[in-house]
């Protein structure tokens, strides 16, 4: 039995290692993956669509978590970077005639490049100023989506050519769902690898104390830039998938509400927790769909959930899981601003 209290779960259950093993994080992840894998085969296309949307938001939340939760940078640019990925993917298909499988990575790469460019001025900013600077970037991107009509088709947007998965014998909805699931598995696994690597540890060091990180010979500029780039990659990829799911690209999909939604997922899930980001994304998309038709209630519910999280679970769902679920642990989780 592990003697590391963080890895052992609640003390009352330490005597039951088999229970901790049985319902630990890995088991829950595998169960979740299995559920997602069979979901569209069992449920109707609407519920499959909602699950596909949740998968896309898992990518977004995990990506945002890199920059906010791991590297500790209060950045609100991911709504715009998602939009850039979406527009690039869509325009390459619409105007360039590119196939989706080429346009999607191209969109993700462009979003990554722009994310790295955003990092350059943002490196000089911290805290509230960084937040304001990146919100301004999101607004500027939205302005470009609306007004650069010759390229983006302005407010009316454009309809994407149909994405086809005929080559692998699947319809559009099913093909896109399993492609998204595959990418989520790969990119979540990658997120875990990064979080446990030297790079991930450097992010945490930057988050905890930039002075101490520099004293440990961690190059702030390099690691912060990497965090921006990785986060942007996830956002851009998710943007391309989002575009394929909707079949249209319009600027209003990437407005300030997009920032609020993604930020809420990370906060409610738990800063610095990949599992939390996943659960936060699933929880908020589920809530959004359950409250469909009750827009006012939806906004109140989101606000109340954020408030309750901040008041009672500053570490988000991840903190609650760590406290109550045997065997649940996450090394880099940020417990409501306290050291993990």
């Amino acid at each position: 039995m592990s003697t590391d209290p963080e890895r052992s779960g609640p003390s009352g259950l330490m005597a039951l290692p088999w229970l901790a093993h049985l319902i630990g994080r890995r088991t829950i992840f595998l169960a979740g993956l299995a559920a997602f894998a069979v979901w569209p085969l069992v449920f109707n296309p609407y519920l499959a669509y909602a699950a596909n949307l949740a998968l896309i938001y898992i990518l977004l939340a995990v990506g945002l978590n890199f920059i906010i939760g791991f590297a500790g940078q209060l950045v609100f640019a991911n709504g715009a970077l998602m939009g850039i990925g979406a527009y690039c993917t869509g325009l390459l298909m619409y105007d360039g005639g590119w196939p989706f499988w080429l346009a999607l990575p191209a969109g993700a790469i462009l979003a990554t490049v722009i994310g790295l460019l955003v990092a350059l001025p943002a490196l000089r900013l911290q805290g509230l100023y960084l937040a304001l600077g990146t919100v301004a970037f999101t607004q500027f991107a939205l302005w470009v989506f609306i007004h650069w009509e010759a390229v983006t088709y302005g407010n009316a947007g454009f309809v994407l050519p149909p994405v086809s998965f005929e080559a692998i014998g699947l319809g559009k909805d099913m093909g896109l769902y399993y492609l998204t699931l595959l990418l989520v598995v790969v990119f979540v696994a990658m997120a875990y690898r990064i979080s446990r690597s030297r790079v991930g540890r450097a992010f945490i060091a930057v988050r905890e104390s930039e002075v101490a990180a520099e004293a440990l010979a961690i190059d702030l500029t390099v690691y912060k830039t990497v965090a921006y780039g990785v986060s942007a990659l996830y956002a851009g990829l998710a943007g391309g998938l989002f575009t394929a799911l909707l079949g249209v690209v319009v600027p209003e999909s990437f407005n300030l509400f997009q920032i609020v939604l993604q930020f809420s997922m990370v906060i409610i899930g738990g800063l610095g927790s990949i599992a939390g980001a996943i659960i936060g994304a699933i929880a908020l998309i589920s809530l959004q769909e359950l409250l469909r038709g009750f827009q006012e209630v939806q906004e109140i519910a989101f606000g109340a959930l954020l408030l309750l999280t901040l008041l009672f679970f500053p570490g988000g769902i991840a903190a609650a899981l760590k406290r109550w679920v045997p065997g649940w642990s996450e090394t880099h989780h940020q417990d409501g601003g306290r050291r993990p």
């Binding site: 609407y46 407010n155 009316a156 799911l245 079949g247 319009v250 999909s253 469909r292 827009q295």
Partner: protein, 390 residues
């Protein structure tokens, strides 16, 4: 449980289930109900325009039900909120199609959301009567499943231009708002002008919610137009008219359907004098206090006490009546195929439009007669109709 009683129990349950299976095999139709569904913005900034439309259609169905239904079946009508957003609209229509499984869709309020919804509905092969989405791409080229009883985007511009030309205007200026709605109109307007061999003296673009339009008004005034065609929602149209009046610029101004409630516009502007040379073209044929629509005013305000009867309700009434007429003509043996065939040749006069709704197999944009409203002697009056032709 003994084996015999288990078998007999299962057989009994199977017989009960068989008895419960509706006579009609058509999706959304049972022995005594027809399930219709609609999606539009029920909340959010556009809902003040779109919610009345769908509520009025629901009121038509409720009235039909109260009168005994259609061939012994009552209409059930369910609504989903799409908030006028494609990101919400796809989910809304998927929920309708795959969870509720209606016989037919009567809905669609905003073009961007409807454009995203179109592939879903077409793939499901469900008849769709568009309530209030205007984008031409929804109903052109003809799609066997899609019909509209609202004014398509191209029509309004053509009708506005025709109205101005019929009154002798030679120098035309065009003012439009920079959003999807405005863009869907400005391109057809440019084409309409080109088709008539006219070069507009000014094109002025406004934000959808400007606070001060004085500079734009002054730029247009400098070109000395005979007529100004405004393609604006009231949020932009009211400041335009107010600022034009303020500087004494009063050419013939032809407004689109969102500005057709000229008394409401006058209240927003602050004085009826500012509208002395203004007409608003409208999808609907009557003012809200006209005796011709008094019956619907009473019904809407009785069924929705929080609503004040408006032209948006009249749009919904027309769509509802058109739907009911198609279902009625399809008879008791109701199938989607039959309804689609009937819709493609259906002609009827709804209570709230100035002209008939008429579909043909080649043209599913079934509404073509726009009415022009102005304030005359302190009263809102219909001052003509315009039938746009390309």
């Amino acid at each position: 449980m003994k084996p015999f009683s288990l078998i007999s129990g299962l057989a009994g349950a199977a017989m009960l289930m068989a008895a419960a299976v509706p006579a009609s095999a058509e999706t959304g139709v049972t022995d005594d109900t027809i399930l219709l569904a609609g999606m539009t913005a029920l909340t959010g900034s556009a809902s003040n325009l779109t919610r009345p439309q769908i509520r009025a259609a629901a009121a038509v169905f409720a009235e039909v039900n109260d009168a005994g239904g259609i061939h012994g079946r009552k209409i059930e009508f369910i609504m989903e909120d799409d908030e006028c957003l494609p990101s919400k609209g796809v989910g809304a229509v998927k929920k309708l199609l795959h969870v509720h499984q209606p016989f037919m869709i009567v809905g669609g309020g905003c073009s961007n959301a409807a454009i995203a919804q179109k592939p879903e509905i077409v793939a499901a092969q469900v008849p769709w009567l568009i309530l209030g989405s205007t984008a031409d791409s929804l109903s052109e080229p003809v799609n066997p499943y899609i019909f509209t009883t609202y004014t398509a985007a191209w029509m309004e511009g053509y009708a506005q231009l025709q109205y101005a030309l019929d009154r002798g205007a030679k120098r035309i200026a065009v003012v439009w708002q920079s959003d999807a709605w405005g863009k869907a109109r400005i391109d057809p307007m440019r084409k309409a002008l080109a088709a008539k061999g006219i070069e507009a003296v000014a094109y002025e673009e406004l934000a959808p919610d400007p606070t001060d339009t004085t500079p734009a008004v002054l730029r247009v005034q400098a070109q000395n137009p005979d007529a100004v065609i405004v393609m604006l929602f009231p949020k932009a149209g009211i400041p335009w008219l107010r600022d034009a009046y303020k500087i004494g610029f009063k050419p013939l101004t032809v407004g689109p359907s969102p500005m057709s409630e000229v008394d409401v516009i006058a209240k927003g502007v602050g004085t009826e004098d500012a509208l002395s040379n203004f007409v608003g073209l409208s999808t609907v044929g009557y003012t809200t206090d006209a005796p011709e629509v008094a019956k619907w005013k009473e019904i809407i305000e009785r069924r929705y006490p929080d609503s004040k009867f408006s032209s948006w309700h009249m749009v919904g009434v027309a769509a509802g009546q058109f739907t009911v007429e198609a279902l009625r003509r399809a008879g008791r043996d109701l199938t989607r195929e039959k309804v689609l065939n009937i819709l493609s040749t259906l002609e009827m006069q709804p209570d709230t439009y100035a002209g008939p709704l008429k579909c043909t197999p080649e043209d599913h944009q079934c509404h073509k007669t726009l009415a022009a409203f102005a304030i005359k002697d302190g009263k809102v009056s219909r001052v003509g109709v315009a039938v746009p032709k390309r």
